[in-house]
């Protein structure tokens, strides 16, 4: 974990309203693992005060990228960054997908991502053992918001039916699983809590291991504030900290 002042390399709109910000940091690039996040101070003023967490979208050489859409003050400032501007970044943070992706016991990695939930997966796919089968299900509001970067074969679901399956990405997944047989699948997911909840119900019914990256309001991102609890199911403690014990959890182990 480092705190570094990283020069911005580029900011680019890669799908409608979805931006990729690339910055240079050797230390971060060298140590980041899929599913980990970085905590970014978007300016050096006291407003907004807190850092903003972002999943690590991709790593290439010394370049690290994040993906975001403009929601509030923090992302409004980020989208205006120019090459050469400096951002203050702490990372890499949290427990990502590494443990689940590198342990044996599965042959097919099934990615289920909703909206900006695709963010951790291009990096994930670049690090996945080449002998795994990969199956990707991506949900978006509409066709022009689909991010294809880093993916090969994608099954798409859109809310408005403008591309692929019309409806929810979990329904699309369920349809595929009823029509096909996949060899030893394991699911890796990220997206809105409502989607993760449905996914978790589905995978528990089907008895498929499922890991998801969760979001939660965070003040510090490094275990100092106790501000990011997720309630555990049969855990030793009532709550786990999303920033330190997560953000990736087995979906059956937490209340979504």
């Amino acid at each position: 974990m480092v705190q570094t002042h990283a020069p911005v390399h580029s900011v680019e709109e890669i799908a409608s309203g979805i931006f990729r910000l690339v910055f240079r940091s050797h230390e971060l690039a060298a140590t980041a693992q899929p599913g980990q996040f970085v905590n970014v101070k978007v300016n050096d003023s006291l407003f907004p005060l807190l850092r903003r967490p972002f999943s690590i979208f991709f790593v290439e050489g010394d370049l690290v990228s994040i993906l975001f859409n403009v929601i509030g003050e923090g992302t409004r400032i980020l989208v205006g960054k120019k090459p050469g501007d400096v951002i203050d970044v702490i990372g890499p943070l949290g427990n990502g997908f590494s443990a689940a992706m590198n342990s044996g016991g599965y042959k097919t990695a099934v990615i289920v991502a909703g909206g900006l939930g695709i963010a951790p997966f291009p990096f994930f796919l670049s690090k996945l053992e080449k002998n795994k089968n990969v199956l990707s299900f991506i949900g978006a509001r509409t066709a022009n918001q689909i991010v294809r970067f880093g993916f090969n074969r994608i099954h798409i679901a859109t809310d408005d039916g403008s591309e692929g399956f019309s409806g929810n990405v979990v329904d699309l997944l369920a349809e595929h699983f009823s029509d096909h047989r996949y060899e030893l699948p394991r699911i890796f997911s990220c997206g809105p809590t409502r989607m993760l909840k449905r996914l978790s119900e589905f995978t528990q019914k089907k008895n498929i291991a499922c890991y998801a990256s969760l979001e939660c309001a965070m003040a510090c991102g490094i275990g100092l504030c106790q501000g990011c609890p997720v309630e555990t199911i049969n855990g030793k403690k009532k709550y786990a900290l999303v920033c330190r014990e997560g953000p990736v959890f087995e979906t059956g182990a937490v209340f979504l």
């Binding site: 974990m1 480092v2 705190q3 101070k41 006291l46 407003f47 907004p48 005060l49 807190l50 850092r51 702490i90 939660c216 309001a217 965070m218 003040a219 510090c220 991102g221 490094i222 275990g223 100092l224 504030c225 106790q226 501000g227 990011c228 609890p229 997720v230 309630e231 403690k237 009532k238 709550y239």
Partner: protein
Amino acid sequence: MHESFTVAGLTLQNRVLVASGTFGYGDEVPQLVDVNKLGGIVTKSLSMKPRDGNPAPRIAETPSGMLNSIGLANIGVKKFIEEKIPKLSTFSCAVIANIAASSVEEYCGVLEKLDPFEAIAGFEINVSCPNVKEGGLSFGTDKEKVALITKELRRRTKKPLMIKLTPNVTHISEFALAAESEGADAVSVINTIIGMAIDIRTRKTKLSTVTGGLSGPAIKPIALAKVYEVYRAVKIPVIGIGGITSWEDAVEFLLAGASAVQVGTYNFVVPSAGVTIAEGIKSFCEQQSISDVGKLVGAVEAKRDLSVIESWL
């Protein structure tokens, strides 16, 4: 310039500590900050039994500040002794144990368990906790209870004892006087201010507990006024807390009457802030040819006396 000094019986290498609940137990961020360059660490509030804390969301950002309702989540004094004290013993900065409890007996019990450990240089008592016996009202808003807690704890320790006051009262100085009269060595001013935020689309409060504690730069002017009020009322040292993010902020607190300061929320943004602030105070004093930082304490040139200001409000 000679920096190390004694306040309330504590020897500190500089006047900047990190505030309770904003630095874990001091062992979370070794990669990002050299804790031995801090004046001291105040631990997360410790209670007798571990506490799970409140459901999410516990955090909401507000303009230049944040609301929290952590619910005093902590590992409990037993685990603290077993797992944290060995590491804390290796630190060269002062470690102050902060205690939170829901009864006077619990305050005493936790203090007695910690008192024998050399690694613990002193105690800070968080009185902004619900008093379970009396319907969950905060101890800290009842002067007699603050006096009683101070008295009972004073009997049980010779180590420096600091009472951390809540600003959610009409006259904080009366509470400081209550603590002083029962033998407190210092008062820490202030804890968080009650606040609230609402998501207008969902119509839900942004914290699961409806209201929570406001902290960060947004509260700095309030904290400064409280430090000034308390400084003028008591003879024991005042530890200034609230919204400090820079050495300039810290110097303001010293001038208002704080003998030392604590940095809280800003640790979440810049974990090494306390160290930078301590260094900044030092260079400021060198530049201004101030031989002893202590000369700044209470050195504000205030034109009006407090009684005039109060009638002004």
